[in-house]
Symmetry: C2
Amino acid sequence: MATPRPLPTTSLQLPDPLPLDSGQVLDGVTMAYETYGTLASDRRNAILVPHALTGDQHLASEHPITGKPGWWVRMVGPGKPIDTDRFFVICANVIGSCMGSSGPAALDSDGRPWAMRFPVITIRDMVRAQVALLDVLGIERLHAVVGGSMGGMQTLSLAANFPDRADRVLAIATTARHSAQNIAFHEVGRQAIMADPNWQAGDYYGTGAAPDKGLSVARMAAHITYLSEAGLTGKFGRRFQDRPDGTAGGRSFGFDADFQVESYLRHQGLAFTDRFDANSYLYITRAMDYFDLAEEHGGRLADAFAGTRARFCVVSFDTDWLYPTSESRSLVQALNAAAAPVSFVELSAPYGHDSFLLDVPALDRVVKGFLE
Amino acid sequence: MATPRPLPTTSLQLPDPLPLDSGQVLDGVTMAYETYGTLASDRRNAILVPHALTGDQHLASEHPITGKPGWWVRMVGPGKPIDTDRFFVICANVIGSCMGSSGPAALDSDGRPWAMRFPVITIRDMVRAQVALLDVLGIERLHAVVGGSMGGMQTLSLAANFPDRADRVLAIATTARHSAQNIAFHEVGRQAIMADPNWQAGDYYGTGAAPDKGLSVARMAAHITYLSEAGLTGKFGRRFQDRPDGTAGGRSFGFDADFQVESYLRHQGLAFTDRFDANSYLYITRAMDYFDLAEEHGGRLADAFAGTRARFCVVSFDTDWLYPTSESRSLVQALNAAAAPVSFVELSAPYGHDSFLLDVPALDRVVKGFLE
């Protein structure tokens, strides 16, 4: 994505400067967001759904670049587990991202893209911006905050740092801190991007050439971590691709994609570059790596939730090796230690980390039940 | 590694052309190898140790580029589990690699580097070349063949395709076929290399610029798969690096390596480019991805071992997620079905796949006992 395009989305400028964990202050923050359903007159039916690393505000509506349905359209809509006939659902593009909110691809006050002049942000900074958006929208208290993966980090961060803002907190396939292995995979992605000569220290906007090759490699590496080994085997195994002429494939004794899994990964990498900005990938992975909710609160995770009065629900998936169930258990123990009401469920699903986005009817039931 | 240097190693040219699985024939194959110990007069005390993806023939002697000790010096030497006071140990650089044997960095008969004109090879081709080397050395029957990781694949391939050449077969931390996830990680590495503009379709020799950035990213991604999540956490956790001035580190709110694990991975990637050729990385990963011993033998793994009279020992590590114990179990079941004598042990070690190279005394005992 060499040059960000104007996109059809709702956005507004936050009235106040946004203080950041780095000590910097971000002025004139733009928040791009979508809403679904109708805000009740008492303003008590709002649900905030923070998105994941490469997600965006198009939760339940067509993506303006890819034309694909919203990323959680199976979960959010009329009569669905997050029922837009009952709830007013808000999804905002996180700061640092590239779908309309302030980030490296957006223009600074001098009219030039921020690029690497954009301040390094944290998960808490993303949440601060969303809480400021809620203030503008006049929503004092959420019925619930619901998020998976990095959305789950934001969900937990909101509960910890703004304990009066949500009645229910639903954290799915997530963690209270990024592990060494998580950081390592992100660092591979960042190095792939920064190794691309088109990256040009981040100043590639308007050059007509973006570091798409590096971004594509970053996406490929990350994508493997989103799937389970068994899921990959079930979906692709060692099956060869058919040849272009339709005949059965096999070893080409070359470096084309012989295996279906190679072709799939290459496609995932390339398609990603159409809709995502490489600098945003750097900034958001950095924010995730910095995330350590215990460290933010004196080193004890339970203390992060000392002030909460919310009800919690924590969901993990048995095949998720990116944020395995053990991470969710630690979180639940901390919530127990903080005497917060919490329910916990490990769901069985074959898709690995991506299970939270896919067809797992048991998750639908958990979400629906928790929001009652 | 932009230009291969002449290296101090033993080498010879195979007398006969080498037929390859691709149907091509490789003439004038050079095999670079090292030997340790003395060949007995009856020539029955030889042990072949095929090396892993990024290994080489410097099994138990100093590496000529890095100056580091041999990669298995803890296992091979006088009085060690592979005892060079008793055994004559041979380790040959695999074809396709870059430490003196024929490969893309070596010169073709026209005096130019092969580069991508080098034929795509398989694990079986690597083994054919090593068996041809044994013929030259006058070794008809090995006391044992012993290998870990890709060395284990060669070990199994030798047992399957040359059943009269080894009395004992010891396969460590390996698999009889590369999984979809294994292929996926390799494909990320290959794409990282080929995305590097210095790669120039493989014709970078003598240009003074090699695709070191791409190769470094490939190595970083692969390196994560060699370690266990718990091992990474134990070794690095979320610890920050000290700053250059010696003060305690922390979040820099930038993109330098703040975490120790980032710095470690970057170093692993960079150091690798000093000693390894990017094209060799492409060729050898391809050979590994193509490896499927069952498919080679009509689709049933047991049939691969129908003609064997060797004794087998299979070793896996409980924290190896690259080639997990389940892969070894499938192999052992096939050997049982082929009525081959086999012992199997899963060892507990914290280091993940790399356990076979590291300080695991239980492995020493297994190796020593099996070679008696």
